[in-house]
């Protein structure tokens, strides 16, 4: 048995050490907000935080999460910064099909934690691992800026 802590809650899972966190969360724990896109860390749809750092859960084994906390999209509204990002996403009308957006939001939150007022280059660097097939990039950029400085963006 392996203990996997997701959003602060511990789950005892009967899985092998090498199982990617993605499948443990989705298929064993049963939380489906985190998405499968490529299985090779190429698209970022599966992005979660491991002790606050963004990781691609499709290639990170559960063994790497031992003693750590996995944060998923389901809990981001519990944090001030997460709520701010979600609100900015809605205000900028970012989503289209929406499938990649869990991963986009997880990457954006990690960026803003690290750099509260990111430049365009910071956004490019932090977000270029997240593919959006609908092409919502123009709005993702705007939403990150709004989340970084909501007062200014409202003006």
């Amino acid at each position: 048995m392996i203990t996997l802590k997701v959003n602060g809650k511990e789950h005892e899972l009967d899985v092998t050490d090498d199982m990617p966190i993605l499948w443990a969360i989705r298929d064993v724990v049963g939380m489906t907000g985190t998405k499968f896109g490529c299985g090779m860390a190429l698209c970022g749809a599966c992005t979660v935080h491991l002790d606050g750092a963004p990781i691609r859960s499709c290639v990170t084994p559960v063994s790497a999460a031992s003693g750590k906390n996995v944060t998923t999209i389901e809990s981001v509204s519990d944090t001030e910064i997460g709520k701010r990002v979600q609100d900015a996403w809605i205000a900028e009308e970012v989503v289209q099909c929406g499938y990649c957006q869990s991963g986009q939001i997880m990457s954006a939150i990690a960026l803003l934690k690290d750099k509260p007022t990111p430049t365009d280059a910071d956004i490019d660097s932090a977000m270029s691992g997240n593919i959006c097939r609908c092409g919502t990039y123009v709005r993702i950029r705007a939403a990150i800026k709004r989340a970084a400085n909501p007062v200014k963006a409202e003006a």
Partner: protein
């Protein structure tokens, strides 16, 4: 469901005071509006209406007339729209409620959506001939009937209130979910009126609101599907969870038409969590407790294949075949004047061959389908653009009657045409036949890329002659490629012409006296499919690149050249001028330290919308293309949700640039060479241009917007590359051509 029909209306045909649908809508829609009133889900007002009236009778299991969309208003005043279209990102689940809410005088937030069950006669789209979401049709088709349905409900609620108050209905108004009698100050919420309204006859004449009184249509409305898409609760097909459900992943023969030869079941079963191996004729699936076990099991199987007749297939062999076919017999799609003779005798004649590659859809949500097959029923959970086709295919496969097949449709994690196909649904049901529990079949990304149903490869011969003013006098465009329509909807193919394959190649808005457009059908050894932008995506690239070639040969500015050719079409000319103005067309771009710079322009009329785009690009010394800015001017008629227009153009443009620069599926040894996002490259945020959208104020019927941006941007980028480098790209993808 307890369904009570109060057949109060009979087969009345309502007269509607509103402009007729645009003549641009193909297929000659002689729609009669059958309205029907009944009570469903217990108490409340239920209106049902059809896009194509075929008769009117009772609804329910024994119905002769099954309605095609529903409005239900319950006693709490909540409006339910049974959505006959699916949401795949295009904003339909916001624009459809807006249409209803506008005429019904309710807040958009009061309209709740339900996925429609499959019902071909009920939900048939007049533009597509089926219960299909695609072809940029949702708003175009729903524009009038949804407003009529809302207006009818509003009028009946007013009548009910007027009866209650014993006043003239004309002295009452509807506002924000209530009927109000201003003279007496009386007011009643819709929920209090629905039961009385349900007993009233449907009005003979439906009065639609004057567009100048619109409160919702044309104003930005927040997407209704955003909240669930930013907190992980949105349910896509892949998110379905059922009791006792197993998860499967699958590998199909890597060569089209190949067969499964052998597998090592013991090795797969040795993987913890693997439960069962299912062998199909052309595929093998591993059934497991979770995807990780299924994936590992599939890798352990060591599947061997009999490749069959297509083992040696390559892209080069296809191109040879297309070249040969393109010189043979052709069907005539358009013949105006005498292009053949004029071209023959021309002194200034230009000709070119254009090629467009196979393309994968690469939706972010890989193909998946969950099936629970029992001896007397089949239930599936899936995201599909074609619920009725899926149901029919399952009936054929299982022998079950249609009514025993339940399709639970979901949000689509991207469609782009891929989910117009049911191959992955059929395969999942084939697998489920061998599995005792519900099973969710999930394709890996590799399976998704290698077993997509690709956009056809097109091979176009195009030629033109110029008159003494260097304007085109004769034009001959011969398109060679596979026919999707011949498979998907055969009646659409007339006299050998696939209307999709020639869309935006024939009926050009350009003023050219002699035009011959031809089509040669040539099929590769596998099935091809619709891809975002469909016919126009291919033809806009060829036509708009070649017009640019002619302008260059005439030593004329490509914008001015187009403007002269669009002299007879005010809407097309207006968007061209608007795009040029907003993009500072007259101001050439200077080279930067990144590379050479250029602007390119394109013009398109497709999906009922007029569009012109200007792209600013830089071509680096190592032939990478950086698209910096795209200016779109569009006249899409009446706008329902302005922000959706912008969003669809921004996204459609990025989708199109991705394909124009890098998109290509190729074959070697009968196998698709691409497999995942490292070799099927999609645009990323650091590569995305600024996209500016300018919308012409228009009262024409709405045009579609999901696809024209994708179609129009490809030639704009290629023309900009020419402006920057002098290199004319006649074969996509652009970057491969530049580096060749």
């Amino acid at each position: 469901m307890n369904m009570i029909d109060k057949d109060l209306v009979g087969a009345s045909t309502s007269a509607v005071k509103s402009p007729e649908p645009s003549s641009l809508i193909s297929g000659g829609v002689n729609r009669r509006d059958f309205l029907k009133l009944s009570s469903l889900f217990g108490a409340g007002l239920m209106l049902q209406f059809s896009f194509i009236g075929t008769g009117c009778s009772k609804i329910g299991e024994k119905s002769q007339f099954t309605p095609n969309a529903f409005i239900h208003i319950d006693e709490d005043g909540l409006v339910t729209l049974v959505a006959h279209k699916v949401e795949m990102g295009q904003g339909t689940y916001t624009s459809m409620p807006m249409l209803i809410a506008e005429e019904l005088e309710v807040d958009v937030s009061k309209v709740r959506l339900e996925h429609a069950a499959p019902n071909e006669s009920a939900y048939k789209d007049p533009l597509l001939g089926g219960q299909i979401t695609g072809g940029s049709t949702s708003v175009r088709s729903a524009w009038k009937p949804l407003r009529e349905a809302g207006a009818t409900a509003r009028m009946m609620l007013i009548s009910a209130a007027a009866l209650e108050w014993k006043v003239d209905p004309k002295s009452c108004i509807a506002e924000n979910g209530e009927v109000i009698h201003p003279d007496s100050g009386q007011r009643l919420g819709y929920g209090k009126l629905v039961n009385q309204a349900a007993r009233l006859p449907v009005p003979e004449v439906i009065v639609l609101k004057d567009p100048k009184d619109f409160k919702i249509i044309g104003k930005p409305v927040h997407r209704l599907d955003s909240p669930e898409k930013v907190n992980g609760s949105a349910q896509f097909g892949i998110d379905v969870q059922l009791p006792d459900m197993k998860i499967a992943t699958v590998a199909a023969s890597p060569v089209f038409g190949g067969k499964l030869a052998s597998v090592d079941e013991d090795k797969a079963k040795a993987v913890k969590g693997v439960r069962q191996i299912v062998k199909l004729d052309n595929a093998v699936a591993v059934i497991a407790d979770h995807m990780w076990a299924a994936k590992q099991g599939l890798a352990a199987l060591d599947a061997k294949w009999e490749d069959g007749a297509n083992a040696g297939y390559t892209t080069a062999s296809l191109v040879q075949d297309l070249d040969k076919a393109s010189k043979g017999e052709a069907a005539i799609a358009e013949n105006k004047g005498d292009a053949a003779s004029v071209l023959k005798g021309a002194s200034k004649k230009f000709e070119a061959i254009y090629e467009l590659p196979f393309l994968a859809h690469a939706t972010m949500e890989p193909m998946n389908c969950t099936v629970h097959l029992q001896s007397d029923s089949c239930e599936i959970w899936v995201g599909t653009q074609v619920p009725t086709i899926a149901q029919g295919a399952i009936a054929q496969l299982t022998g079950l009657p249609i009514e025993k097949i339940t399709i639970n449709n979901h949000l689509l994690g991207g469609g782009f045409g891929r989910r117009l196909e049911v191959d992955f649904i059929v395969q999942a049901v084939q697998i489920a036949k061998e599995v005792d529990s519900p099973v969710k079949v999930v394709w890996t990304r590799e399976e998704d890329v290698q077993h997509d149903m690709y956009r056809p490869y097109y091979y176009d011969r195009i030629s033109a002659s110029l008159d003494d003013k260097s304007m085109p006098e004769a034009w001959n465009h011969r398109i060679t490629g596979s026919s999707i329509m011949a498979r998907f909807f055969p009646p659409a193919v007339k006299d050998g012409v696939d209307p999709d394959a020639v869309e935006a190649a024939r009926d050009l808005k350009y003023n050219i006296p002699n035009v011959l457009v031809e089509y040669v059908r040539h099929e590769p050894p596998f099935i091809t499919a619709f891809w975002r932008g469909v016919g126009p995506t291919h033809n806009a690239f060829v036509v708009e690149s070649f017009i640019d070639e002619l302008a260059a040969s005439a030593k004329q500015d490509p914008f001015e050249y187009r403007r002269k050719l669009l002299v007879n079409d005010t809407r097309a000319k207006a968007v061209l001028e608007l795009a040029a103005e907003k993009a500072n067309w007259k101001q050439p771009l200077a080279a930067t330290k990144e590379g050479k710079a250029g602007k390119g322009i394109s013009s398109l009329f497709a999906f009922g919308s007029y569009m012109s785009l200007v792209a600013d690009v830089i071509v680096t010394p190592d032939n990478e293309v950086l698209v910096k800015r795209v200016v779109c001017a569009v006249d899409c008629g009446m706008v329902v949700n302005p922000d959706t227009v912008r969003a669809q153009l921004e996204g459609g443009v990025i989708f199109g640039i991705t394909a124009a620069l890098w998109g290509e599926v190729t074959f070697k040894d009968g196998r698709t060479e691409q497999s995942n996002f490292h070799n099927y490259r999609l645009m990323r945020i650091n590569e995305a241009p600024i996209v500016e959208v300018y919308v012409v104020d228009s009262h024409e019927s709405p045009g579609g917007l999901g696809e024209p941006g994708t179609s129009a941007v490809m030639p704009a980028v290629a023309n900009a590359v020419f402006a920057a480098t002098g290199k004319r790209v006649r074969k996509l993808p652009i970057v491969n051509s530049l580096k060749a």
